[in-house]
């Protein structure tokens, strides 16, 4: 079975759900459940999808290697998690969408549950995209859906503000990306990455125009993955967007940016590439700046969601560093695989934080860190899960987050890149402070007694799976390696 059929299936499902939403009055939660069901079916089916099973005629544009399969799995899992979080968050959506929230209990929920499916299709196609057009179309499919989702709460000023910021900067980045692609095509006469790679290895003449094109493309994708200096939109958009969407941006959008970046950078840093050293320099500088900015700016944050925004920037920095270090043979991983591994560790810990945030918000708890004081007393299970997730984000050993950092640190060591290693250490040290700050708040004695946060059975299941994933990956990292390297 080809993975393309899964993408067609999910796209069709999204359209059907949108039609149902419009013409039939069903409880909106059913739409979410149908979407989750469809995604679960696709996830199971993914295990039966063969590598390299590509319909004839698409071979040049669409590649199904183990990396693509892994990213497709990541996309499916994150979309499922996002929908579960969205169900938890539904009251808030209704409150800010409906003209009269008391009367119309489910206003606007249908599309909110269906749109993530379209994003997911975009992410899945992107995982396989190996030519410029496919990359661009799938990237736009997700980005345009995100424009809608970020600004979804139309009666919330901060959501609208986030939407406008994301739209303008997103459009700008798309422009840069297309311009870069145009240059690349103009220089090489090729649209497929394989073709371009071939031209670059036998490049004669000046590399300046090539570097210009590469810089534009890096800038364009830099916006998507929140790399410095293209990260300015992140804190505001993360804070303003509906929490499930923020979670999706943080994991899904980042993953999609990194699969594209992995493929492009692998091509540029190939052994005989004419511009490998310069590209590496660019990546290292961006990575170092991103790690430092994300971690140091996070120290002062008091809003948990915003803090996670900066944390997301910092993790993008580590991921970029991993991409730039190419001497990873001894680790049994290519740089792209290290990035994929890191993203797999990043997924559970980030979703736990956003799940708790969403559930708390729906039950009247603000997003300030101060409002989480005493969570470990009122809801011990949530307190424990959040502690674990934050410890993992900080990179404490025996959690998933450490394994991700471990590979990044190790590849920088093998590269002999001690300056980057030092920066990574500084960043991680700052991380100890701002993540532990939240942990300390969770375990503190609150000034006034908080209401306990309750989770639906579905969310509890998700939480249990995510917690288990953090511990299992942290103690038995081969679990992910076996999925990744087949």
């Amino acid at each position: 079975m080809s993975t393309l059929s899964l993408e067609v299936f999910l796209g069709a499902l999204a359209l059907v759900l949108l039609l149902v939403e419009t013409f039939v009055t069903v409880p909106r939660k059913l739409i979410a459940c149908a979407a989750i069901g469809g995604l679960l079916v696709a996830l199971v089916a993914l295990f039966f999808c063969a590598k390299d099973a590509v319909p004839p005629g698409l071979v040049e544009f669409y590649k199904v290697d183990s990396l693509a399969l892994f990213y497709k799995g990541l996309a499916l899992v994150s979309t499922i998690a996002v929908l579960v979080i969205a169900l938890e968050y539904a009251p808030v959506i209704n409150q800010f969408v409906a003209a009269d929230p008391e009367k119309t209990k489910e206003a606007g929920l249908g599309e909110f549950f269906a749109l993530p499916l379209i994003v997911c299709v975009g992410l899945m196609v992107m995982a396989s995209a190996v030519d410029l057009i496919t990359i661009f179309v799938s990237l736009e499919l997700t980005t345009v859906s995100f424009y809608v989702l970020v600004a979804y709460m139309r009666r919330s000023a901060s959501s609208l503000e986030a939407g406008v910021k994301y739209l303008i900067l997103g459009a700008l980045s798309t422009g840069l990306l297309v311009y870069g692609m145009a240059w690349l095509y103009g220089l090489t006469g090729q649209m497929t990455l394989a073709g371009i790679s071939d031209k670059i290895t036998h490049w004669q003449g000046s590399t300046a125009p090539l570097l210009f094109a590469v810089a534009l493309i890096l800038a364009g994708i830099g916006f998507k993955v929140a790399a410095v200096p293209f990260q300015i939109w992140v804190p505001d958009v993360y804070q303003g967007a509906p929490t499930p969407v923020t979670a999706f941006l943080s994991v899904g959008s980042k993953a999609s940016g990194f699969i594209v970046l992995s493929r492009v950078v692998t091509m540029l840093l190939a052994k005989d590439s004419a511009i490998a050293p310069q590209t590496e320099q660019m990546l290292l500088i961006i990575a170092g700046a991103t790690i430092l900015f994300g971690n140091l700016a996070a120290i002062a944050q008091t809003n948990f969601k915003r803090l996670l925004g900066y944390s997301s920037i910092s993790h993008a920095g580590y991921l970029l560093l991993a991409l730039a270090c190419t001497h990873t043979g001894a680790l049994g991983f290519t740089p792209s695989e290290i990035v994929a591994f890191y993203l797999a560790t990043y997924l559970p810990m980030t979703f736990i934080c956003f799940l708790v945030l969403a559930a708390g918000r729906a039950q009247g708890i603000n997003e300030d860190i101060a409002f989480f004081r005493g969570l470990a007393r009122t809801s011990p299970v949530l307190g424990f899960s959040l502690t674990l997730a934050l410890a993992s984000l900080a990179g404490l050993p025996l959690t998933a987050g450490f394994m991700g950092k471990f590979f990044v640190f190790f590849s920088a060591t093998l590269e002999g890149n001690y300056a980057s290693l030092l920066i990574a250490i500084i960043g991680a040290a700052a991380g100890f402070y701002y993540y532990f700050k939240v942990i300390l708040a969770i375990h503190s004695v609150p000034e006034e007694k908080l209401p306990a946060i309750r989770l639906s059975a579905l969310s509890q299941t998700l939480l249990a799976i995510l917690v288990a994933a953090i511990i299992v990956i942290g103690v038995y990292p081969d679990a992910v390696r076996n999925l990744l390297v087949k």
Partner: protein
Amino acid sequence: MSPLEIIILLPILAALAVWLGAPARLTSLVASLAGLALSLVLAVQYQSHSGSGMAFTSAHTVLTHPHIQFAVGADGLSLTMALLTTLITSAALWSIVDKERIYYIASLLISAGALGAFLTTDIFFIYSFHELALIPTLLMIALHGHGEDRRAVAWKITIYLGVGSLVLLAGLLGVVWWCSPESGLTFALADLKPVSSNCKTEALINLNFFVLLIGFGTLVSLFPFHAWAAPAYASAPTPVAMLHAGVLKKFGLYGLIRIALPLFPNVIQTPWIQQALLLMLLGNILVVGFITIYQRRLDEMLANSSVMHMGYIFLGLAAGNALGQNGAALLMFAHGISIALLFLLCGKLRSNLGTLEFSKLGGLATNAPFLSLTFGFAAFASIGLPGLANFAGEILVFLGAFQSFSEQGFSMIHVVTILSLWGVVMSAVYMLRAYRKIFFGEATTGLFITDPTPSQRVPMFLLAAVLLVVGCQPSLLLNLIQSAIGAK
């Protein structure tokens, strides 16, 4: 399943059970005493059966490239450290009375981290387990500690230890890089080969060793990376102070003996590294020693004294011979027990009197003869009185440091050793002064203390007995240690 895995898992499972609502005191005491009994049995078994090499091994691969195993195994040194950990854990848990669950959970987790670090034989897990203590320590000091500035102190220890462990991680990755066999990178200690340097790589290897020294040293409060230790111990709740000063701090030294010294043989005798280490440890002994003399509160004095005594252990390592290392290992054990006992007594005084300022205390011996006797016992042990455990360790350290005298003539290490000897005088000054001031002299009005109840005496008695037994018969432990390090 190896019995060592059971020792490591016991406190983790107990912590989980307590979190889920099992009776806290009973569960944690049963778990810790079972761990103590088990490690005692294993130590005896080890000595009577094999007596050398790694025993009770078991390994499960968790990552194929680079090769990482959850591998357990113990030799004499690991077993000594495991005994130290389980002894102090039992005493610390026993001493907790009427406290919240988090006291038990945190103590058990810290203990599990230490046991895991001492009993695993894969660098990855040795490193990982140590970090298990970081969050419990932060929470316990920040939320249940003493003193106005406990939050600042909690952050200080967390950041220091966090940065120290990241530096250590970089150093350990270097170890794996230098010492792995050609078949591929591995973290298994058994497969790592001691590095053989040539002129090209020598500088890098020396640098790597120094990074390890700083990384491990920060965790042991090596001067000048010691600023976190004294305030943290002074503010920490009693069980955490006992476990941290008694056990966890020894991890850095254990790591040096287990990883850095054997895999980078003779690098410690590189002139600039040895001189730097000697200067730093002299800072521990003399600078911190003077600071200790000037303390006005018992908890701060004890905390500083524990930082100071780390200098002797480093001296044993700097000597670069087996004698010094044997002494260092023995002193690690002895110091752990004595400082844990002192913090236990200090906690008792604090909870009963509400103050630990020397100026407000006096004449407590009249009504609390047992407390006075035990405190004197621990204080004398800490000074290094012959017949108590610390003396045996210290004398070996000094002998080890002087051993190279005949070959090299008079060199820096001998000067440092002679200066270090004055540290013993300083210890005597502050310990005896504190002892006299608190327990003898004029009784202050309003402050009154009676002897602890029989139940509370159990952990004190346990630790004091160990000090006496090991002091009179150091060969009990020394045989174990020598089987791991070598006797010469």
